[in-house]
């Protein structure tokens, strides 16, 4: 068919409302003009080579009127400061926020609250054009938040479009743990597009965990722009447990010395599911360490993409950057496209990357069975052993339990807690 993809992006947008969030002109000025001449990227675009957007482009999105729900059905953490969005409405706000945490939601956010963080992808531009709700969180200088902050996003109803835009800033010396969950209810062919801009000031410390557990027929796009200033320590755990189609774009700009960056990712897929993790760590300053570990288990006809870029700029000496992506394919029809990319312009650095893909170790499965363990449990133990190191990076025991429980329900994977 000779249909122009340009028309498709415009028709895709035709039912979408304009942004309700007040955004700064630095974001909005060119955005509409850019989008109006943009197309959905095709496989000719390097960043979308293995992720086709045809299925997304075809969806005729329509907003639903959601009925009241009990957000606690989606709760992941026992004791947290929690915020819950159901489609474009914020339905729950913890009332007990301590001194030093400020949070603004929806129309409380002024355009001046947004710090500059620009991303040129069509996903990010769509987010600017249609951002309906979201939050801006500030953790004040030196504040160590005593409980995790939990933000839950629920996509409710078929073909529901959700555009959420968020910002998190940790002032100097602040420390926080943030758990973010993406879920859906009664939704098929729903589309969620979430954007996070994260700013870590000097000597701040942040652990962010994303649980992507959308329904099996939903489309999820997640963009994170991270800015790290000197002596900061950042961890992002991306745990993809469900969803028809999940795309993660992570950009970490390390804009100061003595920073540490940890990116951990786990994806467990089956059926026709597709997950694409694109990560970039941009080392602009010297004396920093980054560690990246992504692991995936792919069953049935599922497909995965891993593309991990590490830039080391000319003045960024004494960088240690380690990256690893390992995959197990459980079926002959599952696919992984794994591509590490290192671009190093400094000469005194240590960088390594590795990518492995293999079958489940059937000799190990046989060994366990020969001791009396059922085949399904034996396979599950070997898969769990493979995933163990990346899942053990998730520091929160509540979140770990949540992940293990989800893996048990969806994949009959039984992981053992060590603690």
């Amino acid at each position: 068919m000779g249909t122009s993809t340009k028309a498709t992006l415009q028709s895709f947008r035709s039912n979408l409302s304009a942004a309700k969030l007040a955004l700064p002109s630095v974001l909005t000025a060119k955005n509409e003009g850019d989008l109006s001449v943009m197309e959905f990227p095709t496989s000719k675009h390097e960043a979308w080579k293995y992720t086709r957007l045809n299925r997304v482009a075809k969806i005729e999105l329509e907003s639903n009127v959601a009925s009241p729900i009990n957000w606690e059905d989606f709760n992941m953490v026992k004791d947290a400061y929690t915020f819950v969005f159901q489609n474009t409405t914020c339905i729950y706000i913890s009332s007990d926020l301590p001194e030093g945490i400020s949070i603004k939601i929806g129309n409380e956010i002024g355009s001046a609250d947004w710090l500059s963080s620009i991303n040129e992808s069509h996903v990010a531009k769509l987010n600017v054009a249609h951002a309906q709700n979201g939050c801006v969180i500030n953790i004040a200088k030196g504040v160590q938040v005593d409980k995790p902050i939990q933000i839950i996003y629920i996509t409710d109803g078929p073909k529901q479009p959700n555009f959420w835009r968020n910002q998190l800033q940790l002032d100097a010396g602040a420390k926080a743990e943030v758990h973010i969950g993406y879920f859906s209810k009664d939704a098929i062919d729903a589309y969620s597009n979430v954007h996070w801009s994260v700013f870590l000031k000097e000597n701040s410390h942040l652990i962010m965990t994303k649980i992507q557990n959308d329904g099996e027929a939903n489309f999820h796009f997640s963009t994170e722009n991270i800015h790290q200033l000197k002596d900061s320590n950042f961890t992002l755990n991306t745990m993809t447990l469900n969803g028809a189609f999940v795309r993660n774009d992570l950009l970490v700009k390390v804009e100061g010395e003595n920073c540490e960056t940890h990116l951990n990712g786990a994806y467990v897929m089956k059926g026709n599911q597709h997950v694409d993790n694109h990560t970039t760590i941009d080392h602009i300053f010297p004396n920093c360490n980054s560690y990246e570990l992504y692991k995936g288990v792919m069953g049935d006809k599922s497909t995965a993409v891993f593309n991990g870029k590490v830039f080391v700029r000319p003045d960024a000496q004494k960088i240690n950057a380690f990256q690893s992506n390992a995959n197990v394919l459980l079926s002959d029809d599952a696919t992984i496209n794994s591509k590490p990319e290192l671009e190093i312009y400094a000469d005194d650095v240590k960088c390594s990357h590795g990518s492995t893909t293999g079958q489940l170790d059937l000799e190990a499965v046989f060994y366990l069975r020969s001791r009396g363990i059922s085949e399904i449990d034996a396979r599950s133990m070997v898969v769990a052993a493979f995933m163990h190191d990346v899942l053990s990076k998730v520091a929160s025991n509540d979140i770990k339990s949540y992940i293990y429980q989800q893996l048990a329900v969806r994949f009959n994977l039984h992981l053992q807690r060590e603690d």
């Binding site: 046989f366 020969s370 001791r371 009396g372 363990i373 052993a385």
Partner: protein, 250 residues
């Protein structure tokens, strides 16, 4: 305990076992010796339930059950144990955790209640001492970073934990120094009762200095061609396998 009748098996179209007969009763230790390529490890693999072999004829009765009808794990639950020639390393799966799962799946199969953690740990202490396996090794990942001797001792440790009716030791002596050999043999001897049986598959006689067999069989070209008492092992050690081959041909 186990009766193998006229067993024929092949792999990728190549016949390996060609009419093997063997009967092992409770309380007995049988050694199966033979030259390389005779089918010794094939026999062990088939008994344990490896699926890559095709059984073209014959039957195996294991304590009243048709063994060939049982899955790998069902055989284990019915009391069959294979000590591997090459034990597998499984990083991330802890030795004791997997044994606890195994013991409880076996107990469930038998309609028994699960073993308590306390009872289990006492058993681990007791049985790891039997094969002089450091209890730290017992709780590490299965065979990961174990020396050759530690892997073989871990096999006997698992055997002790699972308390099988029939244990098949596949070339358990290979790669063992004399001390490890003594420890492994001692473990096997300690576990011997009049209710269980052991099949030792070996190329060399030296393990049989420590574990005294009631019967020695020579497996050659897919069949048992000679059966005698323990003295046969010494004769084989002295004369090699060629005289068997010659006798067979003549």
């Amino acid at each position: 305990m186990i009766t193998i009748k006229n067993l024929h098996a092949s792999i990728e179209g190549k016949a390996i076992l060609k009419g093997l007969n063997l009967t092992v009763n409770a309380g007995e230790v049988h050694a199966i010796m033979g030259p390389n390529g005779a089918g010794k490890s094939t026999l062990a693999s088939i008994l344990a339930g490896r699926e890559e072999y095709e059984i073209t004829a014959g039957e195996i009765d294991f304590d009243g059950k048709d063994l060939l009808d049982l899955s790998v794990e069902e055989r284990a639950r019915e009391g069959l144990f294979l000590a591997f020639q090459y034990p597998v390393e499984i990083p991330g799966v802890s030795n004791v955790n997997f044994l606890r799962t195994a013991i409880n799946e076996i107990r469930e199969h038998k309609g028994e209640t699960a073993m308590s953690a306390k009872e289990f740990m006492a058993l681990v202490r007791d049985k790891s001492a039997l094969v002089e396996l450091d209890s730290k090794l017992a709780s590490r990942s299965v065979n990961e970073g174990f020396s050759g001797g530690e892997k073989k001792r871990n096999e006997i440790f698992q055997m002790a934990m699972l308390n099988p009716k029939l244990a098949i030791l596949d070339e358990t002596d290979s790669g063992l120094d004399i001390d490890a050999l003594r420890i492994v043999a001692n473990g096997v001897n300690e576990l011997k009762t009049d209710q269980n049986a052991t099949i030792i598959i070996t190329h060399y006689q030296r393990l049989l200095d420590y574990i005294i067999p009631d019967f020695v069989h020579v497996l050659y070209d897919g069949r048992i061609v000679k059966t005698a008492g323990k003295e046969l092992a010494l004769e084989l050690e002295e004369k090699g396998y060629d005289w068997i081959k010659e006798n067979k041909v003549n």
